[in-house]
Amino acid sequence: MTEVAAFAAWLGGAILVLADARRGLALGLAVMAAGLAGLAFAAGQDPTAGALLAGGVVGAVLRARSGPEGWGLMQPGSTPRIILTVLTALLALYVGASVATGDGAPLRFAVVVAIVLTAGRMLQGSERAAALTAASGLALALAAGATLAPSASFSAAIVAAVIAAGASILPAAEPRGA
């Protein structure tokens, strides 16, 4: 179950990186949130999982209502992004499963991969909607990472959920004026 959730987190992140339009971005965010929530659930942190899932779903729904039309998946020139998703997965796998020790490798893998992919999305894109969705994803990933901490992951998840939803409310078009 945890492996599937970790894979879902990576998949969601990858979709988020590879999508340029509202549906693709929403799907990516939702899948990633589901994966991260699954991992939190598997770790026995049900409220955290609920908050992450809720935040991701709300964010995804809101995202699906604004931003460029369509799916926008793997537009021409996406090869570097594909490479990024694969390399990130390999690197996160190495760190989460090989360098780090002990239980929870899927969670470690998922959080690393989610953070790197969402951050990468914010760094390389020029679309406002994509960046805001990535910010939502990043918030959820950070909150999921907090489950590794001994306490207070729920409050982090609540904050992350609010951010994930809030970022999706923000206008997807550049305001005018300086």
């Binding site: 989460g96 953070i115 907090a146 306490s151 951010i163």
Partner: protein, 405 residues
């Protein structure tokens, strides 16, 4: 309930100020009232005392509390003596939003929440009106959030010591990216409004965030303290040298100011990196000086910079002295404390630091001129800023005691 109020009241003030934008006077009055209330909450809060009003344990450490108080004072100062052509209510709105965020960062029970709050601030600032596109404004601060997130993650992963060091890398790089120091400098447009430029990260939010991250990092990474300190010192020196030289040699006055902030941050990073009491105290003094001196002076220099007014009057020279870290201003005792920390740790480091301290002079002379010929409110503001800097320089003990040092 002080920590909760410290966040809620400024946030409410910012919200009201935003909502009442068409009526600036009302926005200003209400915002100021709520902001003052928030700050009263910060002042009244006992350092380290926890509050659990919302089901989350919130508390304010002494260093964070002191920087918050100084930041609030700086905001009040800037709003009351606002620069020419700057609308007070706008300044207050942005300032209160920042202050609420800073308070939230400071009172958060875990570093994860602090980072999440930082993300909120990043997104909010990037969505505001500005000359640069949203994505470009978001890029560097978002990288900071991601790096700190990764750092926290690595710090918590069980495994070899190299993981803890990677965690330290993430935290340090994230912190540097958050404040916009080298090598993660933010894109800067000299014509941009200050609130949407990288300056607030360096000069307003940065100090509190740095204090929080560094305090938490030492608790999280006890085994990587050496690497942590070494990185801070290395990056600090890099920022000192580049910041000072670039501030002196760069063509644009506003850019020169930006680099001068970077140079000051270099000094603060070195102080935090030393890991001894004196280093912390010196770094805090630098941060106070940024908040109470360099930031207001930068704001007051904007108009003369636009009008290309450069003067060498006594007030300009005093400003230059304050910026250069010359006695009796705040920079000098900060430098003494840093030298002491470095000497106690490793004297060649003190030698390097001492040599770099002279780099401030040429750029400060240049920056002093950019204040132009201040009159009226602006002159009063500069005199107060210089007075505050001199008070910090001659008798920093109360300010350090405020930070529990």
């Amino acid at each position: 309930m002080e920590p909760e109020l410290a966040v809620a009241l400024p946030a409410a003030g910012a919200a009201f100020a935003a909502a009442l934008r068409p009526r600036p006077r009302l926005a200003l009055g209400l915002g100021a009232l709520l902001g003052a209330g928030g700050m009263a909450a910060v002042v009244l809060s006992a350092p380290g005392a926890a509050s659990n009003l919302l089901g989350v344990t919130l508390s304010l450490s002494a260093p964070s509390r002191s920087v918050l108080i100084v930041a609030a004072a700086s905001l009040a100062f800037v709003v009351i003596l606002a620069p020419q052509n700057a609308e007070r209510s706008t300044l207050l709105r942005w300032g209160l939003a920042g202050l609420a965020g800073m308070a939230a960062i400071a009172v958060a029970p875990t570093p994860d929440i602090s980072v999440l709050v930082l993300l909120v601030l990043v997104v909010l600032q990037a969505t505001g009106p500005g000359r640069r596109p949203f994505v470009r404004r978001l890029r560097a601060p978002a990288l900071a959030v991601a790096l700190i997130g990764l750092g926290l993650l690595f710090a918590r992963m069980p495994g070899p010591p190299s993981l803890a060091r990677l965690g330290a890398v993430g935290l340090v790089a994230g912190l540097v990216a958050a404040i916009g120091a080298l090598p993660y400098i933010h894109e800067f447009d000299p014509e941009e409004m200050t609130a949407s430029s990288p300056i607030p990260w360096m000069a307003f939010v940065g100090p509190v965030f740095a204090v929080v991250v560094l305090t938490r990092a030492r608790e999280l990474l006890p085994s990587a303290t050496g690497a942590f300190g070494a990185m801070l010192i290395g990056l600090g020196l890099l920022n000192i040298v580049w910041g000072c030289i670039a501030s002196w040699r760069t063509e644009l006055g506003a850019a020169a100011w930006r680099y001068s902030f970077i140079a000051d941050w270099g000094l603060a990073l070195c102080g935090f990196g030393l890991g001894v009491y004196e280093g912390q105290a010196g770094a805090l003094l630098i941060l106070y000086a940024i908040l109470l001196g360099r930031l207001p002076l930068y704001l007051w220099s904007r108009q003369p910079l636009r009008e290309k007014i450069q003067k060498d009057r006594p007030i300009n020279l005093l400003v230059a002295a304050a910026l250069a870290g010359s006695a009796p201003f705040a920079g000098f005792p900060a430098r003494i404390l840093l030298l002491r920390g470095a000497t106690a740790l490793y004297w060649p480091l003190a030698l390097v630091l001492a040599a770099t301290l002279l780099l401030w002079v040429p750029s400060s002379l240049r920056l002093g001129r950019t204040v132009g010929m201040p009159t009226g409110r602006q002159l009063l503001g500069i005199v107060i800023a210089l007075g505050a800097s001199a008070a910090l320089g001659l008798y920093p003990q109360p300010f350090l005691s405020l930070a529990g040092l």
